[in-house]
Symmetry: C2
Subunit: 188 residues, 2 copies
């Protein structure tokens, strides 16, 4: 083990995203990322298993915190209020830097394998949320619908947020999108 390098994880992430944007994901090597971040390849591998992991290393944390947010909602709350709380927690987790989020989204949309991985990530999260809702006593169909709908709201909100030119934070955009869903389903 080499010595610990303060901020190396963040520098590696920023270097990787910039290189993926400049050269494409496929064409970027771990050695290039390490060089741009001013560290060794060995340091890179202390933070990430491979170059794809730079884009997806928050996945298990995302699921864990989403379920924790769900557990914190009283079981008497409606299924939609429960997933609204989850969406708030997710927005707080991934809504930190819009610039990084925008780069990440651009890189992912440009590569079929990465798009698949992102779809799988969200489908897995949806299934985990539905299971937990069922455990809380939500009916089978409602649990599935609430979970799938929350992913739908998140996808639309996230896309709005990364492409927006105003300075709303992600949580506000998520809440607004959920409100619009209610309006949409009322009006239909």
């Amino acid at each position: 083990m080499g010595r610990w390098e303060p901020g190396a994880g963040d520098r590696l992430r920023e270097a990787a995203l910039s290189l993926y944007m400049e050269r494409g994901f496929e064409q970027t090597m771990v050695a290039d990322i390490a060089e741009r971040a001013g560290v060794t390849a060995r340091t890179f591998f202390r933070y990430f298993a491979d170059k794809r992991e730079v884009l997806f290393d928050g996945t298990s944390d995302l699921e864990e915190k989403s379920l924790a947010a769900l557990d914190a909602v009283p079981v008497t709350a409606s299924a939609l209020d429960a997933v609204a709380a989850v969406l708030d927690a997710v927005a707080e987790m991934v809504g930190g830097s819009r610039e990084l989020a925008r780069k990440r989204q651009t890189v992912i949309m440009a590569n079929a394998d990465l798009r698949e991985r992102e779809l799988i990530k969200l489908a897995t999260l949806s299934a985990a949320l539905a299971d937990r809702l069922r455990q809380r006593g939500t009916g089978d169909v409602e649990a599935g619908l609430a979970a799938e709908t929350s992913i739908a709201v998140f996808r639309v909100a996230f896309s709005r947020w990364v492409t927006a030119t105003d300075d709303h934070d992600l949580r506000d955009v998520v809440r607004d999108t959920l409100t619009r869903l209610r309006t949409l389903t009322d009006a239909g």
Copy 2:
């Protein structure tokens, strides 16, 4: 070109699904499918490009008919009513044989690559529906939400239908699921 074989496409599909269930998708060869269906491998390839295509050959037809169903809805209808009409059309297309649908679903859920392909199919359909809704004058956010929500409803409804023991047809289950979504978002 060999001579045309009446019903060979359906026989090949049923043979393939049965073999995928018995041996697993990976372990089944095109030659096995042809043999079970009583045709040559050459006949198989007149119907399907490869063994995966047996499971996904309706994809472009699904998108085409979904968009046609959307086009048939007056532009004055709400976005949700528009996608409800699309869901009816989709249910009619894929709701023919529950036994075959159940086998297909079992095979897909047992294989990571096939699950990915199915996710991509639905995400692609969602994007196409959202684009068409925008062309019809639906607002950007509402179009994305209506399309994503329709996929959410379809996923939940389809899963209910293939696992159900009663004899409701898929269209009824889709409509009931959409009604439950309205209730869910009202109550939240």
